[in-house]
Amino acid sequence: MKEMKLEDFKYDMERCIGCGGCRWVDHIYMSGVKYGQRCPSIERYLFNDHLASGRLKIANALIEKRLDYSPYLLEVIYQCHLCGACDVGCKRNLDLEVLSALEGLRVRAVEDGQGPMPEHKVCAENILEKKNRYGGSEKSRFNWMDNKSYPKPEKKNWSELLYFVGCASSFVKKSLAKSTADLLNKMGIGFSVLNEEGSQEWCCGHPLIVTGQIKDVKDIVEHNLKLIRDRGAKTVLTNCAECYKTLKVDYPKIMGFSTEDLGFKVIHLVELIDDLIGKNEIKFNKKVKMKATYHDPCNLGRLSEPWFYWEGERKKYGVLEPPKIFRRGTHGVYDPPRRILTSIPGIEFIEMIRYKENAFCCGFGGGVKEAFNEFAVWTASKRIEEVEEIGVEAIITACPYCEQQFEEAVKRKTLNLKILDIAELIHLAL
């Protein structure tokens, strides 16, 4: 867990030059004043304490004991989606670990007995006691599998593909779990799920990780890792961007190794489908007449690059020895969903104004939904305004939490805009 210690990022805090890379959309992609910022937090709260560069100065002052905790400081720390837009913007030019420092700040707040916010503790209790973020009964996790067409829990039939369903699809958005399972069945892809009594899939732990409750999450990480490894799964499939990033990036980060040492590959459904398109093993026969755009979930886009474990020293001129591989958001899962959408007959695909690594967050992440719901919905509404601007009928995404956010924002605005998960859209097209 070394990577989450605030003191390890003192250099990054001190060497921030305040260029605003954390604030502005890549200037090459700058669209003007209206959608020019990449950070929801500074756009909503305006003072620089809600900008990554300001937070770095605040974190540094906290380490140097020039600043004390206060209710406002906790708001500043937690009114951030940890969407990583700042990190990508900064790393366009510099080798500074902005996002890791912000995560470290939360870990520090928890260690100091100040964080997380009270609402996060409720969620944490659910996860620790019931093994899911909603507090639903552990036994009901696989209730969505009532249809007999889904794989039966008989070991002999289990394939090497493991579907990690996640809390949202298991408890709230069951149709998504069903769509995913149906898709796999339709394509004749064998898969298994972690549904054995006594050794079931647990929440991936994302809500604990992003709120700095790292000590509490370790058991969860170890539990899920053990089950996956014991199952002998070579590939873990998710349809949730949060689970995807947590398994692929945070698990190795917390356990102190690199993604490639996980022992299995983590893929999102869009990667699987895209792969099948590339191999001509899937064909969309049904026309879905729709003008649509795609929202890049942060956890599937800029935050999804593999984790590279690094340990070393900083030498003269701040050079790292041994060299470190920086995750700059370059290799996020950007193209697969776009290739899927443009392969479906009838879909007229239009890009958002801010897309791929510059995409504006949906507002759910970083524990904001639990603790600052108004801010969360405000962020989603801003994104929906952007969708309205490009004149589409539907917004497609690949994360149940993004979908939930947009549904809420659209409802508040009473708009006639369809919100679909890409799995549901694929289902319609097959």
Binding site: Y11, E14, R15, I17, G18, C19, G20, G21, R23, W24, D26, H27, I28, Y29, M30, S31, G32, V33, G36, L46, F47, N48, D49, L51, S53, G54, R55, K57, I58, N60, A61, R66, L67, S70, Y72, L73, V76, V88, K91, R92, N93, L94, D95, K316, Y317, G318, V319, L320, E321, P323, K324, F326, R328, G329, T330, G332, Y334, K356, E357, N358
Partner: protein, 524 residues
């Protein structure tokens, strides 16, 4: 530190309670950043602000300044805070953060844009380019405030064609240090800001001084900025960060990178290009930048740089980068390309491959990359004169810099970054310095370079240094030109008798030198 309760309540009434804060957390977030960081100013001058306020309108700015005057509150304006002078330096100061003042309007027919201080260059450029117009994005970067930049410097290689940036300031709304509004140009005669001069004497150079007041003379709340006709094709953004660029329509825009046999040939070729009246930008490329562009990380930069060190035979490689734009037609570009080819054949230029797109200078300018090398960077000189003077000055700085290398990074005698302005009638030099800001023991030596040695070099060489022009000794020892510091001091006393507008700007360098025991200040 906090403001008197009465003052805080008044400020809340002016902007609304959501837009003013004296929480220490908020004030801490405005810790000094930007160009000039790590040159000592933040160490010896910085005083944490007592309060931050976010006005939206000119009227609010006026009222805030009037309150500041009434209660003797020093205030520091900023919107992007991309300069060390945007730090608060007096106890119990108020930061006036102008980021909410981000109105942007383009008058397409008369080719100007109206911007508030919260608008940055890439935003204005995008809106201009949508309409077939453009502005030049300065070395400060695509992320700097258009207003703040134009009242200080604004230098860009693309000024080669369109001239001094300050000349494109049109009608301007300026809240003086006592809170009164002064309207410049045609704005004073009505609501249309299309014209910059008058009424009466043109006051724009009081507004600008020689290279800005750095918040020391009130706040510009609105400015009309001249735009220029661009070529008609849209530039397409491509790539994923960090490798993004605007793809050139190559029938209209093209970069040419030439390796020249020596610096003499480079300069002569540059002049020749200007005389031929072709080109959109001509700039000499500092060697280090080429390695920064090639490297994917700081570690990789040093690996490449160290490997190259053994292979470099010349004092410095003379590389010139020329941008041609077919503003009026594709034929214009083809014609200019042929002329350029002729000139380069004459001077022995060897054409090298380059990417055909904008990574810097059209909409973006990667100023932050300057810190990529060591984490510590500042230009110590900026000079607007001739290319000959730029070369002479750069070579002289390079010579005396050896005494300070290390701690300054050995850049093989690099004579700086120079470029042409106004079709060769003008030259611009910026002298670059990199060092390790975490070498505490080297810190004072770096500061001696900046504040003792460079001003002496300026005086010796007659360099009118844009970046040091507030330093009294520089101005008083140089034999040409007016004594700006006396003139600026009088203006300051007249407009801001209480010295509340970002004190001690514009004389903060003098104040710093006075306080720094390791600096001699022996320029005379």
């Amino acid at each position: 530190m906090s403001l008197p309760e009465e003052v805080y309540h008044i400020l809340q009434k002016i902007v609304g309670k959501d837009y003013v804060s004296q929480d220490p957390v908020t004030c801490e977030a405005y810790y000094p950043t930007g160009h000039g960081k790590d040159t000592g100013l933040e160490r010896l001058l910085y005083e944490k602000a007592a309060c931050v306020i976010l006005p939206k309108t000119t009227q609010e700015v006026q009222e805030i300044i009037k309150v500041a005057n009434r209660f003797n509150i020093p205030y520091t304006p900023g919107s992007t805070f991309w300069f060390i002078t945007c730090q608060t330096k007096a106890p119990n100061s108020l930061i006036i953060d102008l980021k909410r003042m981000n109105e942007l309007f383009i008058e397409e027919k008369n080719m100007y844009g109206v911007v508030g201080p919260g608008v940055v260059y890439s935003q204005l450029q995008e809106e201009a380019m949508k309409r077939g117009l453009y502005i030049t994005v300065p070395g400060g970067g695509g992320q700097v405030s258009v207003v703040a930049n134009l009242i200080t410097a604004g230098w860009s290689p693309l000024n080669y064609r369109v001239g001094m940036p300050s000349r494109r300031i049109l009608g301007t709304e300026w809240v003086l240090p006592d809170g009164e509004v002064l309207e410049l140009g045609s704005l004073a005669m009505g609501s249309n800001p299309f014209w910059g001069e008058g009424p009466g004497p043109d006051l724009r150079f009081i507004l600008k001084g020689y290279s800005g007041w750095f918040g020391g003379l009130g706040i510009v709340t609105k400015m009309a900025v001249k735009l220029f006709p661009f070529q008609p094709e849209r530039l397409k953004p491509v790539g994923v960060s960090p490798n993004t660029m605007l793809e050139f329509p190559t029938q209209r825009m093209r970069w040419f990178n030439y390796y020249m046999p020596d610096s003499k040939a480079l300069v002569e070729a540059m002049y020749e290009i200007g005389q031929a009246y072709i080109g959109a930008a001509i700039t000499k490329v500092p060697l280090m930048w080429r390695f920064v562009a090639k490297a994917n990380s700081r570690g990789e930069f040093w690996e490449l740089w160290n490997k190259q060190l053994g292979n470099i035979q010349e004092f410095y490689p003379a590389i010139v980068r020329v941008l041609l734009i077919g503003y009026t037609s594709e034929e214009q570009l083809e014609y200019e390309a042929r002329v350029l080819d002729d000139i380069m054949k004459e001077y022995g230029g060897e054409l090298h491959r380059t990417r055909q797109g904008d990574e810097s200078w059209i909409k973006n300018a990667d100023s932050a990359t300057m810190w990529a090398v060591t984490g510590g960077y500042a230009s110590c000189a900026g000079m607007i004169d001739t290319v000959d003077s730029a070369v002479k000055g750069g070579e002289y700085y390079a010579k005396i810099k050896r005494k300070f290398t290390p701690p300054l990074v050995d850049d093989l005698g690099e004579p700086g970054w120079f470029q042409m302005g106004e079709f060769g009638h003008m030259g611009y030099l910026e002298f670059l310095n990199y060092w390790d800001p975490d070498e505490i023991e080297a810190r004072e030596r770096v500061e001696q370079w900046y504040f003792d040695e460079v001003p002496k070099a300026d005086a010796r060489m007659g360099i009118y240094n844009l970046f040091q022009c507030q330093m009294i000794p520089v101005l008083s020892t140089v034999k040409f030109g007016p004594n700006h510091h006396l003139w600026m001091e009088k203006i300051k006393n007249l407009f801001d008798p209480k010295h509340l507008s970002n004190p001690p700007a514009p004389f903060e360098f003098d104040e710093f030198v006075k306080r720094a025991k390791h600096l001699k200040g022996d320029w005379d």
